[in-house]
Assembly symmetry: C2
Homo-oligomer: 399 residues x 2
DNA sequence: ATGTCGGCCTGTCGCCGACAA
DNA sequence: TTGTCGGCGACAGGCCGACAT
């Protein structure tokens, strides 16, 4: 994983030269977000990329008919492109501190595209969340101008340097760096009755500079080099609708697809951006993960599965569900695509907001107790998969 | 000119529903900016649109080689497209208040493209600057937190409602609306020794909300309906580089061209944005203006001309220059284009910052005293124009 | 253990005319 | 005519422990 982009990166869109702190980036991105490694092969889904775009711009959310009428077809652009991943850089939006990643992809040759299962592939590295960190959702008192920031006791003792409790009151100056490498100074004091940890002087300028409101989260990291970092996670999904005022969203949408099509046709590099927290589409998948899920796993309607989700406390938990159907999400524009090809139902009724479609590599099928035959009377007109290469076997165990 | 977009506009990118004040928009845009009328025919230059894009993103400013390697060629996209102008809406950036326009264009058929000179065409309406308005560049005192806004005496007497001078001190509340239809209240008072007009209470919140700094300009308009409006013009060109974080600038650039090419191929509508103050590229030209300049005007190397520019006081003045060459700006990508095909030199040495290339419709050739033969020993290898349709004559006088 | 509040001090905001350019 | 400044009053910002949950 490259953290900086010294020269090779032909497009430093933001002029960002600094080396972003990887731990901090991942802490802000959350426990479920992982990035594929530089030099490996990945599967890029223009369909998913398109989905992120539509989500970010909130255009034609429900009526995809709208899209169809403006966006030309790219018949030579397959629903997935096997690519060499040449570069990955972590970024943070200058205005909002929202984390995102930039990747440089190069599609493999037409021939190699068809021999996916013969390629050496990796499952991708697990995302390492930092150990010495805490994340707190800001209260009304934390963000009001009336006072400072109340630090949870355990958090302060774990990630802040120890105070000299012989002083009265114990007090020190904390210096923390954000994703843009800006320094923020806070007065850390242990006072009150009962005693508690507080950040006072310096806190309000941070809140106003980052435009934090109650409900947003702030996180502190104490790394091995005894450096302190801080990041933010906004509660309200940005949804800034981003009034481009430069290019129509149609043109951008066309550009997204045309750039991929052009790169696929010429086997040349192209650049994409992945916004993990802004949109729920993870559209660049390690090749091994894809191959394992698509070629080594047998799923069918009625099968039970588990899937990971992030909790509000930024940890992970598993939700259970049942496969209710398998088929194309968009049969017209993206036929025979594995992108969100699995229709599912969720066990918990409160999980009604969860997406009704998932991709194979997102789920963990429970093969030990398959509920088979299916209690669902669903029957696909066209068996799945169809027209896809059959896995010839012989591939080693991938874990 | 349509000011609102009630339904017909298929793409309200910003969700903006309000009807922007046309006078205010033009006042903010400046005296040189005019928009073609809805329903007329215009000439769209993808090359100029591309230039605006590159300017706004500051990518590959000097080395166009960079662009060439990433952006595919669109051989079927001519350097200019004659279009029907279906819609024009005025907008202002939510963050910066920067004015821009959205236009919906529909390319004419291939056949009509070649018969430009046979089409009925209009020169476009002149831009009407409001009469009752004033514009002041903010001083350090105006923007400091120490005091309010010092209103120039003549300006206050002309555009503000008259004060009741029997009161001591004379004082009133002003309510002005900005481009987003937000209300701003100011206390207008006439006091001090010597007496002067001041805006006190309410001014500082306006300055901080709009993030105004010394050097920026604010303007007030008093219209016929006795309504007060205010707008801003920032001194520092935004140059925000706009860290997209959604789409790579390459993809956007491709999208710009691909959208135009797709629209040209299918004679379908497409949408563009024009940022008059952010970039110096006016790339949608009334057809009549284009026809007159390209087919009715004879220019040659050595010819003298005048061209309008905006002064710092937001009025206009003419600068003189001499044509030093005629030829393609980008012979490889846009051969036989009229976009900035005229190389010029400017009389005033202080005008060294002025662009070295202009388009025919931007200049006023001085045919009364042509400096011919040319004092410049320039000689074009390929005479200009070449391969362009010869004007058959018979077209009526266009002004 | 920690969110919110009243008390209270203080620094900055912001209104005023003086003065000068 | 108007830009900047010193003066100074008002008020919001912000540090404190009390108190409740």
């Amino acid at each position: 994983m490259r953290l900086s982009s010294p020269g090779l990166n032909h497009q430093s869109q933001e002029g960002e030269k600094k080396c972003l702190n990887s731990e901090l980036w991942h802490a802000c991105a959350g426990p479920l977000v992982s990035l594929p490694s530089v030099g490996t092969r990945v599967v890029y889904f223009p369909q998913g990329h398109s989905e992120q775009f539509i989500f970010l711009f909130q255009v034609a959310a429900s009526t995809n008919k709208e899209v169809d009428s403006h966006i030309p077809n790219y018949p030579n652009l397959p629903p997935q492109l096997i690519c060499q991943l040449h570069n990955v850089t972590m970024h943070a939006d200058v205005e909002t501190d929202e984390v995102y990643a930039q990747m440089t992809l190069q599609p493999l040759s037409q021939q190699e595209q068809k021999e996916v299962y013969l390629l050496p592939s990796e499952l991708g590295t697990a995302n390492k969340q930092p150990t010495n960190y805490f994340c707190k959702t800001l209260t009304a008192s934390d963000t009001s101008t009336h006072g400072g920031f109340s630090v949870p006791r355990r958090a302060a003792e774990k990630v802040f340097p120890p105070l000299d409790y012989s002083q009265q009151p114990p007090c020190q100056e904390l210096i923390a760096r954000d994703l843009h490498d800006n320094e923020w100074k806070f007065r850390h004091i242990f006072r009150g009755q009962p005693k508690r940890h507080l950040l006072t002087t310096g806190w309000s300028v941070f809140v106003s500079a980052k435009r934090l409101v109650a409900g947003d989260s702030v996180l502190f990291i104490w790394n091995e080099k005894n450096q302190l970092f801080l990041g933010i996670r906004r509660a309200s999904r940005p949804q800034t609708v981003m009034p481009s005022s430069v290019l129509s969203s149609d043109s951008m949408h066309i550009g997204l697809l045309a750039a991929a099509a052009h790169a696929a046709a010429t086997n040349s590099r192209f650049t994409i951006f992945y916004n993990p927290r802004a949109s729920p589409s993870e559209f660049v998948i390690p090749l091994g993960k894809y191959v394992k899920a698509v070629y080594h796993t047998r799923v069918s309607v009625g099968m039970r599965f588990r899937m990971l989700f992030e909790t509000e406390e930024s940890s992970v938990r598993r939700y259970m569900g049942t496969i209710t159907g398998i088929g194309d999400l968009d049969p017209v524009r993206w036929p025979n695509s594995h992108w969100r090809s699995v229709k599912v139902g969720w066990d918990e009724s409160t999980a009604g907001e969860k997406q009704p479609r998932v991709s194979l590599w997102e789920i963990e099928p429970l093969t030990t107790f398959p509920m088979y035959p299916s209690p669902f009377p669903l029957r696909l007109k066209r068996p799945w998969p169809t027209g896809l290469p059959t896995f010839p076997g012989g591939m080693g165990d991938q874990g």
